[in-house]
């Protein structure tokens, strides 16, 4: 009796539970997505309509305009959106490439090479990961400002150093990924050393072993490191915001930060449609990176030992 009723009862009970799970996940998922939906819709507004009309939870413009999006894509005479976009792209590509390269090579060196002070060095690297980044905010500023023989500096003082130059983008920000180095080290240590030795016997050099044999094995982790670095750099507003001043060095996030802080300083309503469209322009590339590469996030997490 029990077995019959249990088997008859179970699927229905499970269906009801699943329906509930769907409702919860979809409902909260909608809430999480809602600000982005609002962003997309407000991009179709003109500035006047946006500031004069009473906007509800679902803003549908009376006269939809593509001007904001056009401006985002093609720029206009008095805006430098293309330049900000280009700066963001250059910076992201550089950081991602550099972070992938250094964390892979670093992981290899710490996993396979024997040299003096290896463990101390590795611990020092990891320790700075644990210390909050804000502690380095002002020292980095001072260091960049007093970089010897740059920007009119003599030895330590005088000019502006490397502040407000392209160097800020290449030196500052997430151009190296210590966590990535750690993950690669862990993962290479799982690869049997006999593989290296066999390749060596077959006549492969160090470079060949590194890039021909070990690198392909680490691809999911490298993808994970690349994605997280790319997203981190793309969304990083702090480095350009703190360490540069001129317009031609701003990236999309720092340009928005400047626009909005200028707006809150002044009286009256900010030009929301433009700011919001710019924000959308910043968000969409990040979403694209995420959508096309998201399987690697899970795969990378699975391979790196966070998952186990």
């Amino acid at each position: 009796m029990t077995s019959v009723s249990a088997s008859a009862k179970r699927p229905r009970k499970r269906n009801a539970n699943h329906l509930l799970a769907h409702l919860v996940l979809a409902g909260f998922g909608f809430l999480l997505l809602y600000p982005l939906v609002f962003m997309v819709m407000s991009g179709f507004f003109t500035r006047d309509e946006f500031s004069s009309r009473i906007i509800g939870f679902f803003p549908i413009p009376e006269e939809a305009t593509l001007n904001n999006y056009k401006m985002l894509l093609f720029g206009s005479a008095d805006s430098s959106i293309q330049m900000y976009f280009r700066n963001s792209v250059i910076r992201t590509i550089f950081s991602t490439f550099f972070a992938i390269l250094t964390s892979f090579l670093g992981g290899y060196a710490f996993a396979r090479l024997r040299f003096k002070g290896r463990d101390v060095l590795f611990l020092a690297l990891l320790a700075t990961q644990m210390i909050p980044g804000t502690i380095a905010l002002i020292p980095t500023y001072l260091q960049l400002a007093r970089w010897p023989f740059a920007g009119g500096n003599h030895i330590f003082t005088g000019g502006s150093g490397l502040l407000d130059t392209w160097w800020v983008y290449f030196l500052g920000g997430p151009a190296i990924n210590i966590m990535g180095t750690f993950l690669v080290k862990q993962s290479i240590e799982k690869v049997p050393i006999e593989l290296d030795e066999a390749a060596k016997v077959d006549g492969a050099g160090t470079l060949r072993i590194i890039f021909g044999i070990l690198f392909p094995l680490q691809l999911p982790i490298m993808a994970y490191i690349g994605i997280t670095t790319a997203l981190g750099t793309w969304n990083d507003f702090a480095t350009p915001f703190f360490y540069t001043n001129s317009d031609h060095l701003q990236t999309l996030p720092s340009a928005i930060a400047r626009l909005s802080s200028a707006a809150t300083g002044a009286t009256g309503t900010p030009n929301y449609p433009l700011i919001i469209t710019l924000g959308l322009g910043t968000t969409i590339p990040a979403l694209l990176i995420f959508f096309f590469l998201q399987k690697y996030i899970v795969q990378g997490l699975a391979n790196t030992g966070i998952k186990g």
């Binding site: 600000p35 962003m39 090479l113 909005s260 924000g279």
Partner: protein, 318 residues
């Protein structure tokens, strides 16, 4: 490597050993240089900054021992900012972790289209803080904001969100949860999927119900990943400042200022580099102590656990 080539002379062996070091220098060189520039040297420098009286970039620094630190604990501005960082961070971290855990449990069910849910939940995490806080600002705009329009349509008084301490804190916390919950869910999910399925079957045979399985299999099995995610979430939450900067600007009357935002203001508005350095150092000590304490406790707990866990590797992540 020495085993492969038999009969090496001492010189050759020395060269081989030297080659490892040389390779390491070539390989690690650029990375170490970058690391020194962006974090090694600035961190050490930052530790020293707290002991200086240094206001204004061009001014001459003076060594004043612990005066900055004494001021930190006597000036309510700093003390309150620190306290606010701690409780707001804890609130955000706990809510995010719990909500993420619930979502991960649901996403772990054999649901139709769970990949879609996973993506949707994670999307806020990949957006830029600067960009998405603008939307929150527009929602909260006192004259034309969406929420106030809605209140007006219900014949209620519009609320001046940014002028109320409680509401400002509320929206900063809501924003932080919005941004963080998907990432937490994803990591919990990875943890859930690494638990051995046979353990559930064994528990079922032993007569464990839904709660029994959660209590005796799921939660112990998540311990390694819990260490990782709790530590990283707490560290991240205590350092919240971008949302404060863009949603309230520390207002009203500095009552939503958190410590990192205070550091930023000290450094780039008041040019009080000594005070900023001292605050950073205090922040670093707190985070470091919390991490170490929690980490050591979780390792001790791990030793006491007798339930077999599939992997224990995660503990040494952070």
């Amino acid at each position: 490597m020495e085993q492969i080539v038999p009969k090496q002379t001492k010189v050759k062996r020395f060269l081989v050993r030297k080659r490892d070091t040389l390779t390491a220098i070539v390989i690690l060189g650029p990375m170490i240089f970058w690391w020194l520039v962006v974090s090694g040297f600035p961190t050490l420098f930052g530790f020293g900054l707290g002991f200086l009286d240094w206001v204004g970039i061009q001014a001459h620094p003076k060594f004043i021992w612990f005066d900055n630190f004494i001021r930190f604990f006597h000036d309510p501005m700093y003390y309150d900012a620190l306290w606010r960082s701690v409780w707001m961070g804890a609130l955000v971290a706990v809510t995010t972790l719990l909500a993420g855990f619930g979502a991960a449990l649901l996403m772990n069910l054999p649901l139709f289209g769970k990949g879609v849910y996973r993506s949707i939940w994670y999307i806020p995490a990949v957006t830029s803080t600067v960009a998405t806080t603008q939307i929150f600002n527009f929602f909260l705009d006192p004259t034309n904001g969406v929420i106030n329009n809605f209140l007006k349509s219900l014949n209620m008084e519009p609320i001046l969100w940014q002028f109320s301490i409680g509401w400002s804190v509320f929206w900063i916390v809501i924003y932080s949860i919005w941004k963080g919950v998907g990432g937490a869910a994803l990591i919990w999910l990875a943890g859930l999927q690494s638990i051995d399925v046979t353990l559930y079957e064994a528990a079922e045979i032993d007569g464990a119900g839904r709660w029994g399985k959660l209590k005796y299999v799921t939660i112990p099995g998540l311990k390694p990943i819990a260490t990782y995610i709790v530590i990283t979430s707490l560290i991240a939450a205590i350092q919240i400042y971008e949302q404060v900067m863009f949603i309230t600007g520390g207002g009203p009357y500095g009552k939503t200022e958190v410590l990192v935002y205070r550091i930023y203001k000290d450094a780039f508005w008041d040019f009080n580099l000594g005070m900023a350095g001292a605050s950073s150092l205090i922040m670093a000590v707190i985070v470091f102590a919390a991490t170490t304490l929690f980490y050591r406790r979780s390792i001790q707990d791990d030793r006491r656990t007798t339930i077999p866990i599939k992997s224990k590797k995660v503990g040494n992540e952070t």
